[in-house]
Amino acid sequence: MDKAIELHAVDTIYEGEKIPSLKNINLHVNKGEFIAIIGPNGAGKTTLLETINGLLESKKGKVIVLGKELNGDGNGIRKLVGYVPQDYSIDELTPFLVSDVVLMGRFGKIGLLKPITKNDKEIAKNMIDYLGISDLSHRPIGKLSGGQAQKVMIARALAKEPEILLMDEPFSNLDFEARKDVSEKLSHFHKSKQMTFVIVIHDIASIPKVCNRIIVMDAGKIIADGKKEDILKPELLEMGYKGIVC
């Protein structure tokens, strides 16, 4: 089977730090898989996602994404990989409208010197509708609530129609109903587009249904990797990932 992501013995160290935040990570994700990453705060989940899309450079080992090895400049890869970051600072006066922010998700993919087409605008609009935020479309992004903004960031990432979508706690600001709703939409989107999804999530109850593989991280390492049924056994959770109640 074609691999979407391959990490071979990868270490990632933040600039100026001594202790690696990722230690000897080996991970293979097939194209079309939907995996969830869980683990306590500081486990290295965000670091792992940013090592995959090249925002952080690994210090050791090999990162291969969509068949291309990342060395240094991950820009080419990031055109094909969507990312919903854990945190983004959008201040209240940010002069951008929701519709523009979502459309912008496609700009990297469209590429230098290529025009924005009608099709691009339509896809962006469809994603806004899909997430049920069309009433926010013409509002300034800085004026939204945390959950509304988070939906915009998800719409933005989906609008890109990436081959791989990395999401870092995309539900953290959503209410329970919205989590369920967006989670189902992601499942549906995944099925229809055959994309590869990697989602970092704390709330186990809202792991999308199509997700069949779970990775547990702790202290910069992958401590468990397997089928959802196997990982979400109470004993295992107790061991690797204390403190989740769902």
Partner: protein, 271 residues
């Protein structure tokens, strides 16, 4: 004959004002949004110091102004980029240093010391515009327009958020440096008309005025240069009418526009 000369001066002043107002305010939208105001401030004063050195050496002040402001943008750009050092501090140092150097050179310049030529680069003047100045301004205006049109997607993404832009596959670094570079060139070319002390006002005020009325970056990019052009035209009108230094007049006009914008801004109205 005298009338012809006057017409030419007036014409050059008007064209110069339009072009200066346009580019300064266009680059100003980027400078303000990317929090590069203090860098722009340092650039404009470095340009002034450069021009003063040029006068002292009896060479073309423009070339030295250009070199100095480009130097500052390239030297401070990486620091502002990485936020590794308190850029405020460094920029403060550069600012006072360039003022000191500039005034020193002006003072040391024999016979021209504090003469009108020298003062012009501080306060700006409508009188000194040459065909070459107009050409330079025209070239930089055209380059900035082309830059914005060709790379609208990239610039827009970067103005929204650099990290998100990078995450979406846009190579933000070259654009950041291009913006800095074009800003420093714009500053240097605007020196003649607006003067080293006040060119900064022309970058910040028009876009800050437009900010009071819209949350749409596209509109801000379109309207700021228009406000900049209007400020410059009203400024030279004032300068001609009341015999004021051009830079001061332009700065007063665009500050007044900003003040009024804040007062009537729907963003600040309660409810």
């Amino acid at each position: 004959m005298l009338e012809l000369v006057f017409t030419k001066i007036l014409l050059f002043a008007i064209i110069g004002a339009v072009l200066t107002g346009f580019t300064c305010s266009l680059m100003g939208t980027f400078v303000v949004r990317m929090n590069l105001s203090s860098l722009g401030f340092a650039m404009s004063h470095a340009a002034f110091a450069g021009a003063a050195l040029g006068i002292f050496l009896r060479k073309d002040p423009l070339i030295f102004a250009l070199l100095f402001s480009i130097f500052v943008s390239l030297a401070l750009g990486p620091l502002a980029d990485k936020a590794k050092l308190k850029t405020d501090v460094i920029i403060g140092v550069i600012f006072s240093l360039s003022m000191a150097i500039g005034l020193l050179f002006l003072n040391m310049s024999p016979d021209t010391a504090m003469s009108s030529t020298a003062l012009r680069i501080l306060w700006g003047s409508v009188l000194g515009m040459t065909t070459a100045d107009i050409m330079y301004l025209l070239i930089i205006s055209v380059i900035t327009i082309i830059f914005v049109m060709l790379f609208f997607k990239e610039i827009n993404s970067i103005l929204f958020d650099r990290k998100l832009a990078r995450a979406s596959g846009i190579n933000d670094k070259p654009f950041y440096y291009l913006i800095l570079f074009l800003t420093s060139v714009t500053v240097a070319f605007s020196l003649k008309l607006v003067g080293g002390l006040l060119v900064f006002a022309l970058m910040i005020n028009p876009t800050s005025s437009v900010y009071q009325f819209t949350y749409d970056m596209k509109k801000i990019i379109l309207l700021s240069p228009i406000v900049g052009v209007i400020s410059c035209l009203l400024g030279i009108l004032m300068s001609f009418s009341f015999d004021l230094p051009t830079g001061s007049a332009i700065a007063i006009v665009c500050s007044a526009i900003f003040g009024v914008s804040v007062l009537v801004s729907p963003k600040r109205r309660k409810g």
